[in-house]
């Protein structure tokens, strides 16, 4: 493959750590998706015969149970689904809204840029925790609020990054040549500006997902996010932290999943940055 994408894929494949990390993410995602089918236990059934039993000891619960006898594997996978979902919402928001917004702002410049950037500054001036608490107070406790609030602010930094890139690309001669060939502003943004910022965008998106997952865990840990009996990695870890001395697996299983996910996403992000770092010609 001679294309630019082919070149990037080849470089990525040479990076062994990144490939392994990508595999690890795939395994975690696959487990989270098919979990309910391969595991006979659900997240809320209490098993009175196995209260707080360690992993592997009883055949029915692969990763053991928590203090109330709920299957830890099922709960961890459910938590992973929530975390991945939030990561996905944030990255889709930042890819669709953030990239478009930043490219228009950076390319048009002048007054339009000024107004668009002030709007971003106002939005990013809102303290996120305060925002979430406010939403919780108004709408009551609801998991979807977490998605809404993270979606609402997740694209701001991306928009800033893309704007900066677009401003420098606007000065390049192929943009001038495109204007001279009769291309309109919208066409230039879609065809010439956005494809040229895609490298940093992909890298930032991969590095942002772990941040968002961590933030969700943090909110849930504080009791602002996902509520019992539903689970997220954050609530599971909060629960496990209390039992750390007596039953360490209640902390270690969800903690391990979170650690693998975050580490892998970061390594993949770094790998992509190296692979997409195109030296001109």
């Amino acid at each position: 493959m001679s294309g630019l994408a082919g070149e990037a894929i080849r470089r990525f494949k040479e990076n062994r750590a990144a490939v392994i990390a990508l595999l690890a993410i795939s395994v975690v995602v696959a487990l989270a998706l098919v979990g309910p089918w391969i595991n006979p236990n659900d997240i809320e059934t209490l098993d009175w015969r196995h209260l707080g039993s360690p992993p592997g000891a009883q055949g029915a619960h692969w990763f053991g149970t928590d203090r109330l006898g709920r299957d830890l594997f099922a709960r961890t996978l459910a938590g992973t689904r929530v975390s991945l979902g939030i990561g996905l919402v944030a990255s889709v928001m930042s890819l669709c809204v953030g990239v478009g917004y930043g490219a228009v702002s950076g390319y048009r410049g002048g007054r339009i840029d000024n107004v668009m950037m002030r709007i971003i500054e106002i939005l990013s001036g809102l303290p996120l925790i305060f925002f979430v608490i406010l939403l919780t107070v108004i709408f009551g406790r609801n998991e979807n609020l977490l998605f809404i609030s993270i979606g609402a602010v997740g694209w701001l930094t991306m928009a800033r990054i893309v704007r900066g890139q677009a401003m420098s690309i606007r000065q390049r001669e192929f943009i001038e040549a495109a204007v001279a060939s009769g291309a309109g502003a919208g066409r230039i943004i879609v065809r010439h500006v956005i494809p040229n910022v895609i490298g940093p965008v992909i890298v930032y998106a991969t590095l942002m997902v772990p941040q968002i997952i961590l933030f969700e865990s943090f909110l849930s840990f504080l009791g602002l996010g996902v509520q019992e009996p539903r689970a997220s990695l954050g609530t599971l870890i909060a629960e496990g932290a209390g039992e750390m001395e007596a039953a360490s697996w209640i902390l270690l299983v969800p903690g391990g999943f979170l650690a693998i996910l975050l580490l892998s996403l970061n390594i993949v992000g770094d790998g992509l940055r190296d692979a997409l770092d195109v030296k001109e010609s």
Partner: protein
Amino acid sequence: MEPVLCIERLSVGYAQRAANLEAVQQVSLAVAPGECLGIVGESGSGKTQVFMAAMGLLSRKASVSGSVRFAGSELLTAPPSSLNRVRGSKLTMIFQDPMTSLTPHLKIGVQLAEVLVRHAGMSWRDAWVQAGLMLERVQVPEHQRRLRQYPHELSGGMRQRVMIGMSLLCEPLLLIADEPTSALDATVQAQIIDLLRTVREGIGMALVLISHDFSVVAGLADKILVMYAGRVVECATAADLLSHPRHPYTAELLKCVPTLSGPRLQRLPTLAGQPPRPGEVSAGCAFAPRCPRAADRCRSERPPLADSADSQVACHFPLSS
């Protein structure tokens, strides 16, 4: 015959903190259909600014006044949508640096075909075939393979051929070539000039050739216009201007062109002094400080661009022809 491009009293200024910098002052020129007009001047003489203004490519900071009519319609006041119908189809421009004028992430064929899809309403399939034929016409070897390559896989000369090909796709009435050979080495330069000559004869389009190099312009131009410090100082047919320059600046510039015949010189002749910086205003002729023929009148009174027979010159004491 109605000129294809007619620029009248065009001025381009940039507002600075204190003063308004005049990059182009009261420039008027006309290009007849099929004619090749050469524009010569030093860096900063405003030769590129004139045509960037005509194409609507100047930054928002520039204030432009005057009139630019292309094929009978005014360009300066035209809205972007109607400007975009003209640019790239009937009025095209190629730039100095072919290395950076092509979008790096799109295949050559896509970039060429898109012009036809947009301006001529062709299907992608037809446009792709036409793009291949055009590459053949601008003498790109292995044109079918080149269509599928990215800009960085082509050499500089090849990329300039692609740019020329792209500008010719819609059979333009006028091609503006802004220093098309300055970034290329000497042998490729000659090939590109040859190519421009061939394609111009092929479709009978007009050509504006902007250069700081007389030898590039001399081989192609029917008419040559010399600019200095944002103004036209002389305009005449190529033959007249090259053999009998009337403005001292033109004459001095021509002396600087190295020749192959004649005695070998120890030093190449140069033009003493610097052109005035933008914003440096003088009441008289801008060239007076460097002019060997300057008199008091030159320093106090600016010479108008005077018509005589078939040439124009802005000098109080022109050289006799």
